[in-house]
Subunit: 202 residues, 2 copies
């Protein structure tokens, strides 16, 4: 595209650096901002700059937080013997939205991915191990994506945690609630049979 203005070209270039946003969408967004009051663009630019510069991470679980320790780690209502290991803050929000979990979290900040050059040392694994040595934690729940990278990270973590006395579990993989057997892929269906749950369990 040949833009008639360097200013709009720069804006489109910067916006289209964002994931999932191409040049056409970037131009649509830029033109939208031009049609709005200048205060809208100002508020957006300020919010982005402030977020990037002033953001804090919880010193315990590495979740995003405005304070030194996040509200979940500070809460007295939480079960401090449970730690759920997740990839990033989006997973924390997703699990919190279920209202099914009352333990703490540990945000790794990614998963092991040799292709993207992310090794175990890039992730917050050492601080997880040192949290465990404090003795309060009884169970570590691995809640990573069911992808190659997620599984690799789960495997690595379970190996590192083998010598500690904590129980290590992983979230169940199976057919989604509301999902039909017929349309479930073979691997998921096969796994759901292998890891079946005993109804007559006492």
């Amino acid at each position: 595209m040949n833009f008639p203005s360097k200013l709009i070209e720069d804006a489109v270039t910067e916006i289209s650096r964002l994931p999932g946003i191409g040049k056409k969408t970037a131009l649509r967004l830029a033109l939208h901002l031009l049609k709005q009051n200048g205060a809208v663009t100002e508020a957006l630019a300020l919010a982005l700059t402030r977020m990037r510069e002033e953001i804090n991470y919880c010193k315990t679980c590495h979740n995003i937080s405005d304070h030194e320790e996040c509200s979940i780690c500070q809460s007295h209502r939480r079960d401090r013997s449970l730690v759920c290991v997740v990839e990033d803050i989006r997973d924390v929000l997703a699990i919190e939205n279920t209202n099914q979990y009352q333990g703490l979290y540990h945000v790794l900040g990614g998963v092991i991915s040799p292709i993207q050059g992310i090794g175990p040392e890039e992730l917050k694994i050492e601080s997880l191990l040192s949290r465990i040595t404090e003795g309060e934690i009884r169970e570590v729940i691995l809640a990573l994506s069911a992808t190659m990278e997620g599984d690799t990270t789960s495997f690595y973590l379970s190996k590192r945690l083998k010598d500690s006395k904590v129980k290590v579990s992983t979230i169940a993989r199976g057919i989604p609630v509301g999902g039909e057997l017929e349309f479930t892929d073979e691997v998921t269906l096969g796994r759901s049979i292998l890891t079946r749950i005993n109804y007559s369990q006492d």
Copy 2:
């Protein structure tokens, strides 16, 4: 969503004001910026602010421009007797990309839309009429969207231009090149028959 940080909440709120971006996408974009170097966010914020504050519009055709008059209006290679009336700069870029048009443009800045409260006085219509009175223009091509609003605007403009001596035309509506008759909607197909082009035309 309950965000653990006011900073990220503000950023997500501002990003999700953009058209077509919901809270989930906004959060994904914000987290992406947090993972990148701070310079990426800084460049984005600066490009947006500069664009909004310093942008200029061509005094003749109202296209976006860094100068008082845009490069198309200044060009000596352009046919100054032709003016193509479009809604916004995106349409200028789209028509320029076809390499089929060598005339000038006139950017209305929108179309008449009573629902959105946009009347003819919000658009650059008076300046189009005064361009025409200068006498150099022989034909005005209406290249507006084939929507209710676009058609209303075309109708309004053709009425306003009736008394002037310029020829008023509109871009052809018909089946798209590469489109199959079978899958073309009835209205388009009907119109393409009514406005058929005579092959034996001399």
